[in-house]
């Protein structure tokens, strides 16, 4: 069990960090709107792009991120009369590296989206105006969690994407050169290596956030 504010990192040596933050949404009616703050946040989330066009795809080292509104807790199987005091914006992110640099990277790369998403959360508008204050804000909202997204190892995202890219391309290479003569194979492999640039992480690779092979391959 990891203590509050500690995030999830199992085992200790791992570079895989699991962040969970619950940010209270203001109660009441949004000014100039006929709806609650919560409804406005919900609308904002619904309007965000996903997969390779998600703003989170531009945040370095994000393995998997989730944003949703937590309206009330309910327990499966047991009946327990416990309700949340407020409505929360749930922000969960599994990423490579340390919390603070990660959050700074988030502010640096998608500040306008961060402002848009969090603007109706309690104390956000009055306290967050820089990368450092965003880090502080999220750390205040952080809750302990023990569950990590399990679909990824703990390498930096760029390495993982390159690895997946190479695996797929090499598979294609092998499949399409079955039965080739040694000479054909040698020259085909040289041009293959030239094309995929094995050691170049920012070279040909997959796009962050892509959900299908087609979208992963159209690297911009």
């Amino acid at each position: 069990m990891v203590g509050a504010g500690g995030g999830g990192r199992l085992p200790k040596s791992s570079k895989h960090y699991g962040l969970t933050a619950l940010c209270p949404i203001k109660l009441g009616t949004a000014p100039g709107r006929n709806s609650s703050y919560e409804a406005v946040v919900r609308e904002t989330l619904a309007g965000l792009d996903s997969h390779e066009r998600s703003p989170m795809a531009r945040v370095p080292n994000t393995y998997l991120a989730r944003l949703y509104i937590l309206k009330d807790v309910f327990y499966e199987g047991r009946s327990q009369q416990e309700h949340l005091k407020s409505q929360y914006l749930f922000f969960g992110s599994d990423f490579h590296g340390e919390l603070e640099p990660y959050l700074r990277g988030m502010w640096e790369n998608i500040e306008p989206e961060v402002r848009l998403i969090w603007q109706h959360c309690v104390a956000f508008g009055s306290s967050v105006n820089s990368a450092e204050s965003f880090v502080d804000y999220i750390k205040k909202c952080q809750v302990s969690n023990t569950f990590l997204f399990n679909g990824s190892n703990d390498r930096p995202l760029a390495e993982q994407l390159k690895g997946l890219y190479l695996k797929q391309e090499f598979g294609d290479f092998v499949a399409s050169h079955q039965g080739a003569s040694d000479d054909e194979l040698r020259s085909a492999f040289l041009s293959f290596a030239e094309r995929v640039q094995v050691t170049k992480l920012d070279g040909p690779t997959w796009r962050p956030g892509a959900q299908t092979l087609e979208s992963a391959r159209t690297h911009s």
Partner: protein, 549 residues
């Protein structure tokens, strides 16, 4: 009270028979699946009330169970299942309805993208009976009948029809329960029911083949307290460490709660289940999927790709599935000669077992031999074949049940070798339908009525379909799909994406063979998610007495 109830811990009288028994194995070669819409709750409830006494339970039949005191095997069996919309229309209270799992509430059509039901398999191409105008599930109640003969089938079908009519009379509404036609068949797209039937061999004897030519229905999960023969644990149970997969010491029964609600499961918990427990206990879920098989394309591809890869066609076919067409597992019988020799022994033992001219002693000995050989058909795993040189890692049956091989040879990677598998087992209870004797066309009426039973559709069937059939990551096979079931959106298939690798000894000099350009062999033609209530629950539903408070 009979002995097996005391011994078994499950009241098998309360559990519908299709859950535990693969009827096909018990000499019921024909089946009929009848779909109903419920327009009036009273009629629906009365129908169920009239069906309950006709239902077949899981009580063992005297010939095949562990128990001395089974019931006599009937000439036909009858079972009933309900969709979410069916439960709602029968007046099951809101609070109970809300306690069903999401995937069941949504129904199979709404899960199309998860299941890979795209392109030719997309819901818009399903049989008319599964089409919906209002977005609601069209089918509310499913009656499944299995029978030893066409006559017995027709008779039971007639009796079920009479019950529906009687229910409508009681309700004073001639369409209170309405049989829904619209199943595609050889005669068109409007059959009043879906028929299924074991395929027959050249002598007209029904057998275990499916339309691609493989022996099917061999592997069957074995659950604690299911009342079936204890040696079925071999290959059917969960794999234990440090013991041979060929003996019963190598396996333990799966927890009952993997199959039935109201019993503890492999996590030592009661599976999440609808309230009240009288509604859920001893019930389970049924996935009904009509899967069309493109037999001409399959035959053509097998011949041409085997030639391209310089392989015997039979070996090629075996590599796709993980079993030779005659049923012998590749993992234990890597060459065709071994597989054929094994199968000849199996067939001989079976013939001797049922040879009426033999003495009782001879037949008893043959029975013993037959059962032992059947254990060999199931009692294997992939521990000696981690790389997949005998049975490819991506072979259909290895994907469907990796039998502990997800440790990838790293013993003790998990607390038990089955850690990633034991909660993903599914009991298959379907039968083929139609006739594929004309192998030159794809668009005849032939396929499988695939039925999967288990305590969680999402955790078991949907996971296997989405993660293990339509994706390869868990097997370190990247995006490769199962060759048999792969489905593709309408766009042209990238031939390199539609591929499967036949691995070789990683330390040897041989080169792996990769088949490419695999066309779509199987297309979904309809189906839905059903709840299979216990007899107690059905009676409560019929009385309008489900009380979740």
């Amino acid at each position: 009270m009979t002995t097996f109830e005391i011994r078994s811990g499950v009241d098998l009288h309360d559990v519908q028979g299709n859950i535990i028994k693969g009827y096909g194995r018990y000499g019921f070669p024909v089946a009929r699946y009848v779909t109903y819409r419920i327009n009036a709750a009273v009629a629906g409830r009365t129908f169920i009330k009239l069906l309950v006494p006709m239902l077949t339970t899981s009580v063992p039949w005297s010939e095949s169970g562990v128990v001395e005191e089974g019931t006599k095997q009937p000439p036909s069996t009858t079972n009933v299942a309900l969709t979410y919309e069916g439960l709602r229309r029968l007046g099951v209270p809101e609070r109970s309805l809300l306690s069903f799992p999401d995937e069941f509430v949504m129904g199979m059509r709404a899960r199309a993208s998860i299941l890979g039901d795209v392109g030719a398999s997309a819901p818009k191409n399903w049989d008319p009976v599964w089409q919906t105008e209002d977005g609601q599930q069209p089918v509310h109640l499913l009656v499944t009948i299995n029978a030893e003969s066409s006559d017995a089938l027709a008779q039971r079908y007639e009796e079920v029809g009479l019950a529906a009519r009687a229910a409508n009379d009681v309700a004073g509404d001639s369409a209170g329960v309405q049989q829904l036609a619209g199943h595609r068949s050889a005669g068109g797209a409007d059959a009043a029911f879906q028929d299924g039937a074991a395929l027959r061999d050249e002598h007209g004897t029904p057998g275990p083949k499916e339309h691609f030519g493989y022996t099917d229905g061999i592997s069957d999960p074995y659950y604690k307290d299911s009342g079936s023969r204890s040696s079925n644990v071999i290959g059917g149970g969960k794999r234990l460490r440090d013991s041979s997969p060929a003996t019963d010491a190598g396996w333990a029964p799966l927890a009952t709660g993997e199959l039935l609600l109201g019993h503890t499961d492999e996590a030592l918990e009661y599976p999440a289940a609808p309230v009240p427990s009288t509604l859920s206990k001893n019930g389970t879920y049924l996935v009904y999927r009509k899967l069309h098989q493109n037999v001409a394309t399959f035959d053509r591809y097998a011949a041409s790709e085997a030639a391209k890869l310089s392989m015997e066609e039979n070996l090629f076919r075996a590599k796709l599935v993980g079993r030779w067409p005659n049923g012998a597992p590749l993992a234990s019988f890597p060459t065709e000669a071994e597989a054929n020799a094994f199968n000849a022994k199996l067939e001989q033992a079976k013939a001797d077992r049922f040879d009426e001219t033999a003495t009782p002693t001879q037949r008893a000995a043959a029975t013993e031999r037959h059962l032992e050989l059947k254990e060999q058909q199931s009692g294997f795993d992939y521990r000696e074949d981690i790389a997949g040189e005998s049975c490819p890692v991506g072979a259909h049956s290895r994907r469907a049940n990796p039998r502990g091989s997800l440790e990838f040879g790293q013993d003790h990677a998990f607390s038990t070798p089955g850690a990633l598998v034991n909660r993903r087992r599914i009991a298959r209870r379907g039968l083929p339908y139609g006739d594929s004797s004309d192998r030159s066309v794809d668009n005849g009426d032939h396929g499988i009525i695939f039925m999967a039973i288990g305590a969680s559709i999402n955790r078991q069937f949907e996971f296997v379909q989405q993660q293990w059939m339509n994706f390869g990551n868990d097997f370190r096979l990247g995006n490769d799909q199962d060759a048999l079931l792969a489905s593709w959106p309408d766009e042209d298939i990238d031939p390199l994406r539609a591929r499967m690798t036949f691995e070789v000894d990683p330390d040897g000099m041989e080169v792996p063979k990769i088949c490419t350009g695999i066309p779509q062999f199987v297309e979904t033609r309809g189906g839905d998610y059903f709840f299979v209530p216990s007899l107690t629950a059905l009676s409560a539903i019929a009385r309008g007495a489900v009380d979740p408070t």
